[in-house]
C-alpha cells in the first residue's frame, strides 16, 4: 500500500497559534499547512494493522511512559511494537553505527536533539515530518498540530526547514534544594549567583559530612553545568551566526571559574566522578544543600522507597546571573529513518507518542515536559501530576527563560568531551583560563572542519 500525497485534498490553511500565555511556555507563531477536521473520515488508526515495527528509545522517563502504554498503541492500531530502551551513550552510538551501515534495524527512534540534531540533519537520515503531517490520511484529525509550542518546534526543525523529528520533550535545568537544610540555617533560596555561593558556604560543614552543593563532575556530562552558568553571563558557547567558539570570552571563563569554585569548595569529595545518577543519589540522602540538573530527575526524589528527603525537596528556578537569567534547555525528538520500510506504521507510532494523551501522561509522571501547550492549561491534567505543585511552577518558569544549553553543531559529543575534560581538570586544581584555552585550541579545528 503506497501513500501518495493527495494534493487535491490538502486544505491550504495557515494557522497562527496564538501565544499560549497561560502556560508561560515559549509559544511562537507556527505557520504550517496542516490537515484539518474537514477531511476527517479519511484517517483510520487501523489502516496498517498487522504490521510490526521496531522502536529504539533512549532509556529514561520518556521511554518509561511510552513502553508502559505500548499495549494501548497495539490495541488502537493493530500494529505490533518491539521496543527497547538503551542507556543514552550507547543508544547514540548504536543508532549512528546502524545509520552508517545504510540499513538501521529500527523504524522509530528517539533522538537527543541537543546532541545529534545537526548530525542527523546534515546526513539526512530521517524522514521530513512535514509531508506526513500534511497528509490527512495519515494524520489524525484531532492531532492538533498548532498545540505544539514554538520552542518545541524550533528544536525539531532543521536549519533548512526540514522537520525531521516530532518534539517529544524539553528539559530545562534548575536547582533542587533541600528545604530542611536551608530552614535550619535560616536561608532563603538564592536569587543571584553570588547568593548561591553564600548559601553553599553556609551549608557546608565538612566535619558533619554536610555539603552545600553537588553537580556533575564527570567529563562530557559536566558541560551543561558550565553552560548553565555561561548563559547567566549572556554568552552562548558557539556563536551560531559566525560559527565561532566563544569559550574564551570573559563570560565563559568566569563561568568555568564559578564551576570550579562551587565544586571544589562546597561539594562532597569525589564529584569528579559523578554523573547525574551519582549526584542524584547523593542529594537524595539528605546531606546536600543544592543540586543543579534537569527537571526530569525529580520523581525518584519524591519516592519514599528511594529517597530520604521526600517532601523536603525545593524546586528553584535558575537564579539571576551577572548579565542575564536563563535556564539551559535540552530536548528530545522522535523520528523515522529514511531506510525504514514501514514509514506509515512508524509515523502512526510517532503521532501516538506525541498525542495529547501521551503528552499529558508524560507531564503527570513528572518525567519531563512535553511540547504541547494544552498539557499545561488542562486543569485535569495538572491536578493529576504526581509531584508537588512547586515542581510544575518551576518547570513553567524555567521554560519561560529557556535558552539552548548546547551549541547546535555537528560534533557536539566531541565538544562535550574536550571541554568536559578541561572542566574536570579544574576540579583537580588546574587554572580555569588555561584549561579553557587548551580545550578551545583543540576544538577549533574540529569545529571549522565540520561546519565547512
Amino acid at each position: 500500500m503506497t501513500m501518495t500525497t493527495r494534493k487535491e485534498n490538502r486544505r491550504g490553511l495557515s494557522r497562527r497559534a496564538a501565544l499560549r500565555a497561560g502556560a508561560g511556555l515559549l509559544a511562537a507563531p507556527a505557520i504550517m499547512k496542516v490537515a484539518t477536521a474537514q477531511t476527517s473520515g479519511a484517517f483510520n488508526w487501523r489502516r496498517f494493522a498487522g504490521q510490526s515495527i521496531e522502536v529504539s528509545l533512549t532509556l529514561g522517563p520518556r521511554a518509561n511512559v511510552l513502553r508502559a502504554h505500548e499495549k494501548e498503541f497495539t490495541e488502537l492500531t493493530g500494529i505490533k511494537v518491539g521496543s527497547e530502551a538503551v542507556p543514552e551513550q550507547q543508544h547514540r552510538q548504536q543508532v549512528v553505527i546502524q545509520f552508517n551501515s545504510g540499513n538501521p534495524q529500527f523504524d522509530v527512534l528517539t533522538v537527543s536533539l541537543h546532541v545529534q540534531k545537526r548530525l542527523v540533519g546534515k546526513a539526512k537520515w530521517l524522514h521530513d515530518m512535514k509531508p506526513l503531517l500534511a497528509d490527512s490520511q495519515l494524520t489524525a484529525p484531532d492531532y492538533d498540530f498548532p498545540d505544539f509550542t514554538g520552542g518545541g518546534l524550533r528544536w525539531a526543525t532543521q536549519g533548512d526547514g526540514r522537520m525531521d523529528t516530532l518534539p517529544l520533550n524539553i528539559d530545562p535545568w534548575m536547582i533542587y534544594y533541600n528545604k530542611e537544610l536551608f530552614a535550619a540555617r535560616g536561608l532563603a533560596f538564592p536569587k543571584t549567583f553570588e547568593e548561591i555561593v553564600m548559601a553553599a558556604e553556609k551549608l557546608t560543614d565538612k566535619a558533619s559530612g554536610q555539603f552545600g552543593w553537588v553537580s556533575r563532575g564527570l567529563k562530557n556530562a559536566n558541560v551543561p553545568v558550565w553552560t548553565s552558568f555561561m548563559l547567566g553571563y549572556d554568552v552562548d558557547p558557539v556563536n551560531t551566526k559566525t560559527i565561532q567558539l566563544q569559550t574564551m570570552t570573559d563570560g565563559a571563563i568566569a563561568a568555568a571559574e564559578y564551576y570550579k569554585k562551587l565544586n571544589r569548595e562546597f561539594a562532597p569529595p569525589g564529584t569528579v566522578g559523578f554523573n547525574w545518577n551519582e549526584a542524584q543519589t547523593s542529594f537524595s540522602q539528605g546531606k546536600i544543600g543544592m543540586w543543579i540538573d534537569g527537571i526530569g530527575f525529580a520523581p525518584p526524589l519524591e519516592d519514599p522507597t528511594k529517597s530520604r528527603i521526600v517532601g523536603k525537596v525545593g524546586y528553584g528556578v535558575m537564579p539571576q546571573g551577572p548579565k542575564a537569567r536563563h535556564s539551559a534547555t535540552f530536548a528530545d525528538g522522535i523520528g523515522i529513518p529514511v531506510a525504514s520500510k514501514k514509514r506509515e506504521a512508524a509515523y502512526l507510532y510517532c503521532q501516538w507518542a506525541t498525542s495529547k494523551l501521551m503528552c499529558n501522561r508524560l507531564l503527570q509522571s513528572g518525567g519531563g515536559s512535553p511540547c504541547r501547550a494544552s498539557s499545561y492549561t488542562n486543569p485535569e491534567v495538572v491536578a493529576g501530576i504526581k509531584l508537588p505543585r512547586e515542581w510544575l511552577q518551576c518547570l513553567q518558569d524555567s521554560a519561560a527563560i529557556g535558552r539552548q544549553g548546547l551549541p547546535e553543531i555537528v560534533p557536539v559529543t566531541e565538544f562535550r568531551d574536550v571541554f568536559g575534560v578541561g572542566l574536570t581538570n579544574t576540579l583537580g586544581g588546574a587554572d580555569a583560563r588555561a584549561e579553557m584555552q587548551k580545550a578551545t585550541e583543540a576544538f577549533t579545528p574540529v569545529l571549522a572542519k565540520s561546519e565547512a
Binding site: I97, N100, L119, K122, G217, P268, G270, V272, G273, P411
Partner: protein
C-alpha cells in the same frame, strides 16, 4: 628415539603437517582480513560518519604523532600495563607456591580463589564501582573503621590508575596462579630431596631449584598478561571511562572515543594501526625472552 624412528623423522614429515591448520587459518583469515584491509584503507582517509570521505594519505599518522592526548594515553597504557603485569605475577606465583602444598580444604580454597577470573568483567566492574563510591561505598567504610583516611579511588587523578590496577589484579591473579601451578606440579621432586639432604633451607631451595623450574611458565604468564593488559577495556570503561578528565585514558579507550563517540573513523583506524604495532613489538620482545628460557 630409536634409530628407525629418528630416520623417519629425518625424512622431513614436518612439511606435511600444515594442512592440519588450514581450516583454522581459513576462518581466521575470513574474519580478520577484511577488517584489517578496511582499517588500513580508512587510516589513509579523513572520514567522519555523516560526512563524505576524503583521501589524506599519511596525514592521520602525522596528526597522531603530534596529538598530546594520544601521546599521554601511551604513557597511561604503559604504566597501567606494567603494574597490571608485575603485581599479578608476584601474587600469582606466591599463591601457586601456597596451593602447591597439601592442606585441608585445598580444593575448595582453590575453587574460590579462581572465581574472580571467571566472573564477567563488566558485571564485576559495576559492583566494584559501587564499592568505590566515596561516601556510600563499603571500601571507604572499611578504611575509616580501621582508622585510615577514606580514599578517592577512581575519582582522583592520582589514585585512579592504582584503583583500576587493583581490580585487574583481583581479576587476573588466579590465571597466573594456575599457569605457574602447572609448572610447579610438573616439577620433579629429586632435586628437592637431594638439596634437603645437603642441608639447604626453604629460601635456598626456592631460589635455586623452584625458580628456574617455573621460569618458563612465569614467562608465559607474563606474555599473556602483557597482551591482555595492553588491550584492557571493560574494567576501565565501566569504572572511570578514561577519567577523571583523561587521567586513565589508555590507547584502547581513546580509540573507542574517536571511533564511537566522535565518529572519526579515519583517525581511529590510524590509532588501531599504531596500537597494533606497539603490541606486536612488546609481544615479540617477550616471546624472544620465552624462547631463551625454554625448559627442556
Amino acid at each position: 628415539m630409536t634409530a628407525p624412528i629418528a630416520a623417519a623423522a629425518a625424512r622431513g614429515y614436518g612439511r606435511n603437517y600444515l594442512p592440519f591448520a588450514y581450516p583454522a587459518l581459513a576462518i581466521t583469515a575470513m574474519v580478520i582480513v577484511f577488517p584489517w584491509l578496511f582499517t588500513l584503507f580508512m587510516s589513509a582517509h579523513e572520514w567522519k560518519i555523516g560526512s563524505p570521505r576524503e583521501f589524506v594519505g599519511f596525514a592521520n599518522y602525522v596528526k597522531l604523532a603530534g596529538d598530546p592526548r594520544f601521546l599521554e594515553s601511551i604513557g597511561h597504557t604503559l604504566w597501567f600495563t606494567l603494574l597490571s603485569v608485575v603485581l599479578p605475577i608476584a601474587f600469582g606465583t606466591g599463591a601457586a607456591l601456597v596451593f602447591n602444598e597439601r592442606f585441608p580444604l585445598r580444593g575448595f580454597c582453590r575453587a574460590v580463589f579462581i572465581l574472580p577470573m571467571m566472573a564477567t568483567p563488566v558485571a564485576v566492574a559495576l559492583v566494584w564501582k559501587m564499592m568505590f563510591h566515596p561516601q556510600l561505598g563499603v571500601l571507604n567504610y572499611i578504611l575509616t573503621s580501621v582508622g585510615l583516611p577514606p580514599s578517592l579511588w577512581h575519582t582522583s587523578i592520582d589514585t585512579v590508575i592504582p584503583t583500576l590496577v587493583m581490580v585487574e589484579v583481583w581479576h587476573w591473579t588466579p590465571l597466573v596462579m594456575l599457569i605457574v601451578l602447572g609448572g610447579l606440579a610438573a616439577a620433579p621432586t629429586e632435586p628437592y630431596e637431594s638439596a634437603r639432604l645437603d642441608g639447604a633451607n626453604a629460601w635456598q631451595m626456592f631460589r635455586y631449584i623452584t625458580l628456574p623450574l617455573i621460569m618458563p611458565f612465569v614467562v608465559l604468564a607474563v606474555v599473556i598478561r602483557t597482551i591482555d593488559a595492553l588491550k584492557a577495556f571493560d574494567t576501565i570503561f565501566v569504572i572511570s571511562e578514561g577519567g577523571p578528565g583523561t587521567a586513565s585514558e589508555t590507547i584502547n579507550i581513546y580509540l573507542y572515543l574517536q571511533a564511537f563517540a566522535f565518529y572519526n573513523i579515519g583517525y581511529a583506524s590510524a590509532i588501531v594501526v599504531v596500537f597494533f604495532v606497539l603490541i606486536i613489538v612488546l609481544a615479540m620482545v617477550l616471546l624472544w625472552l620465552r624462547q631463551k628460557s625454554k625448559w627442556s
